[in-house]
């Protein structure tokens, strides 16, 4: 049974007179109790994806198609009230770490309490405090932070508070949008480990969004690789890392990890990845063809005009590339 199902989601942003397609027919599912990694570079649509699920896209964005099915309901069709009862209670998010993910002039206590009381209005003050303190302990941070303001805390502490906040209502799904960006490597490692432990202890599903392949491969059970607003590869994280299919995934791995001599030779014999390419972030207007075509060493004429679709290559491992579509 799928916990969350994304079907053919397309989202565009209006920038001046241009429409930019940020997500194009994105489909994948999340299973219960799994960690799903979303891997992609800046502009690949990862964060747009998270905001689409939460229906919190900026005003200039428009969902032009698709559905997000959760518990048999399409989240994109719900009224604001119905949605607000699902937000945080069923699906919560750990927002991208930033100074202002929490209000700078309110104490942590007041902000966490406000969120909790939205969904559990009957709790009395003592229960509220108990829950807040319990979640802070789970996120490995002392209860003292309740009486602090965000600016009095370090980046790692703020991130842990956001993690505690996401746990407040025991949701079924937690989306972690770049949970460790901007943190030092040690804190990054600790937080990821803690998130992973929390997930296996509490049994919720988690979506980890990152541009860092090591973050994804160290935490997730399955990995979705995105490029140019499209899903280019989905598979169990082990297979994606050990036997990547899509040229983009291979390129990422070549850059970031040790890969086998054989593959390296094969890649080098075909092309040179370092050749200059046009800026990647801007060519996502409505186009036909594969989004990776401009950087792909294996690109053919067909790739420029036709878009490949996700194809099952082997057990639960899918790729969207004509190399495998014979």
């Amino acid at each position: 049974m799928n916990l969350l199902e994304l079907n053919e989601i397309s989202v565009e942003y209006q920038l001046g007179k241009n429409n930019i397609l940020a997500l194009s027919n994105v489909s994948f599912s999340m299973y219960p109790k799994e960690i799903l990694g979303i891997l992609g570079e800046s502009g690949s649509g990862k964060s747009t994806l998270a905001l689409t699920i939460m229906r919190a896209l900026p005003k200039n964005a428009r969902i032009i198609g698709g559905e997000v099915i959760f518990n048999g309901k399409n989240l994109l069709n719900l009224s604001e009230d119905e949605l607000n009862s699902i937000r945080w209670k069923e699906i919560s998010i750990i927002p991208q770490n930033s100074m202002n993910s929490l209000s700078p002039v309110h104490k942590i206590r007041d902000q966490l309490r406000d969120i909790l009381l939205l969904h559990e209005p009957k709790l009395d003050e003592k229960e509220v405090i108990n829950i807040m303190e319990e979640k802070l302990r789970l996120a490995n941070i002392s209860e003292d932070v309740l009486d602090k303001f965000p600016h009095q805390l370090s980046g790692g502490m703020r991130q842990r508070i956001l993690i505690a906040a996401s746990l407040l209502c025991n949701p079924e799904i937690i989306i972690a949008d770049e949970p460790t960006t901007g943190l030092d490597v040690v804190t990054q490692y600790q937080i990821l480990k803690e998130l992973k432990n929390l997930q296996s202890a509490k049994g919720f599903s988690m979506m980890i969004i990152s541009h860092d392949i090591s973050v994804i491969s160290n935490t997730s059970h399955r990995t979705v690789v995105m490029y140019g607003g499209k899903v280019v590869e989905i598979g169990p994280s082990d297979s994606v890392v050990e036997s990547p299919l899509h040229p983009y995934t291979r390129m990422l791995l070549e850059v970031q990890m040790e890969i086998s001599k054989k593959t390296q030779n094969e890649l080098h014999s075909r092309t040179n990845f370092n050749k200059p390419h046009k800026s990647v972030g801007v060519n996502f207007t409505h186009h036909s063809g594969c989004p990776f075509v401009q950087r792909c060493p294996f690109a053919t004429e067909k790739c420029k005009t036709e878009a490949p679709t996700l194809l099952k290559v082997n057990n639960d491992h899918y790729v969207s590339c004509f190399l495998f579509n014979k």
């Binding site: 604001e80 937000r87 930033s98 929490l102 700078p104 002039v105 969120i115 939205l118």
Partner: protein, 322 residues
């Protein structure tokens, strides 16, 4: 402990500021052209008479000596004696302060709330037609000189429609007292207050509107949205609170000008306040009176700044007293 230190240090700073302001005021006035003795003696006075007047008021002494004796007097709470009104300066000023505050404080408070309310309304639909219309209207109002607006209001509501009195603080023909006097003063104060408030609304509107628009796209807004909070709750609980600092600061800074800032409007409406007192003192080179008003103004400006600093530490936890 920290608080006490901070208050003490800021108070010392305040006294020092006022002291320097006092010296600068004194020097500037005495460097300005114009001979108070000649003005006091009158147009037909003989040279000997002018000299006699000069000596009578101590104006023949060198400036440093006069400065020192003035400072000593001020320290004892004696602001001097007005040449023209033949009254003590402190009495003259004390009489005018409440009269002016009635106009300036009331109008500032009204302007603050009207500006804030307009900003809250229009920022909900930022960049819509209504928002642009109000913004442009505010810009127009902002560029209207206060005395002109006052004259127009007098022309329309005083002269043409005869709804409001054209000048003064009380009806000189009535001998009412008690409640009637208060009502009479309130009635006379409406047009000048409307004038002063109108020209101040755009300041509060603009700063509040822009802050609210900016705050509405902050990351915490999307955090609470994704937490399931309704947009109106987010606005009331978080955006508004985060947007208050700039308008409140401007308001508090504005308090520095409550005593002397309404001079033109007071003249237009024949309002017997500080502004008019200052103007008449300047025309007749009434040095002690000018000095007294400047002193009181310096103190209010410094106090307002002091007040803003304290307010900052209360409103914004990120600002610490150091």
């Amino acid at each position: 402990m920290e608080w006490k230190d901070y208050l003490l240090r800021r108070s010392a700073q305040l006294l020092l500021t006022v002291f320097f302001a006092l010296i600068i005021n004194f020097l500037i006035i005495n460097l300005a052209p114009g001979d108070p003795a000649a003005l006091m003696a009158g147009e037909l006075a003989t040279k000997e008479y002018i000299e006699a007047v000069r000596e009578r008021w101590g104006l023949n002494k060198p400036i440093p000596e006069r400065l020192v004796s003035y400072l000593l007097n001020v320290l004892q709470g004696n602001l001097g004696y007005s040449y023209t009104y033949l009254q003590s300066v402190s009495t003259l000023i004390a009489e005018r302060i409440p009269v002016t505050l009635l106009l300036t404080l009331t109008s500032s408070i009204i302007a603050f709330f009207v500006g804030l309310l307009l900003a809250v309304k229009t920022s909900q639909k930022a960049f819509s037609k209504v928002d642009l219309f109000v913004s442009n209207m505010m810009l127009t109002i902002y560029s209207i000189p206060s005395f002109w607006l006052g004259l127009m209001l007098i022309g329309i509501f005083g002269v043409a429609l005869r709804i409001f009195p054209t000048s003064g603080m009380v009806n000189v023909r009535s001998t009412g007292s008690g409640v009637f006097l208060i009502l009479d003063i309130a009635y006379h104060s409406i047009l000048p207050i409307v004038t002063l408030a109108t020209i101040q609304v755009p300041i509060y509107y603009k700063i509040a509107r822009n802050t609210i628009v900016e705050q509405s796209s902050e990351d915490y807004v999307s955090t609470f949205l994704m937490a399931g909070m309704s947009t109106s709750s987010i606005f009331k609980k978080y955006v508004l609170r985060n947007s208050l600092l700039p308008p409140v600061t401007v308001f508090a800074l504005h308090l520095g000008y409550v005593l002397s800032g309404a001079a033109l409007v007071e003249v237009v409406f024949g309002w017997p306040g500080m502004g008019r007192l200052l103007l008449s003192a300047v025309y007749s080179r009434d040095y002690p009176l000018i000095m007294g008003i400047y002193l009181v103004t310096s103190i209010t400006v410094s106090l307002a700044n002091f007040f803003v600093d304290i307010l900052y530490t209360l409103l914004d936890p990120r600002v610490r007293y150091k």
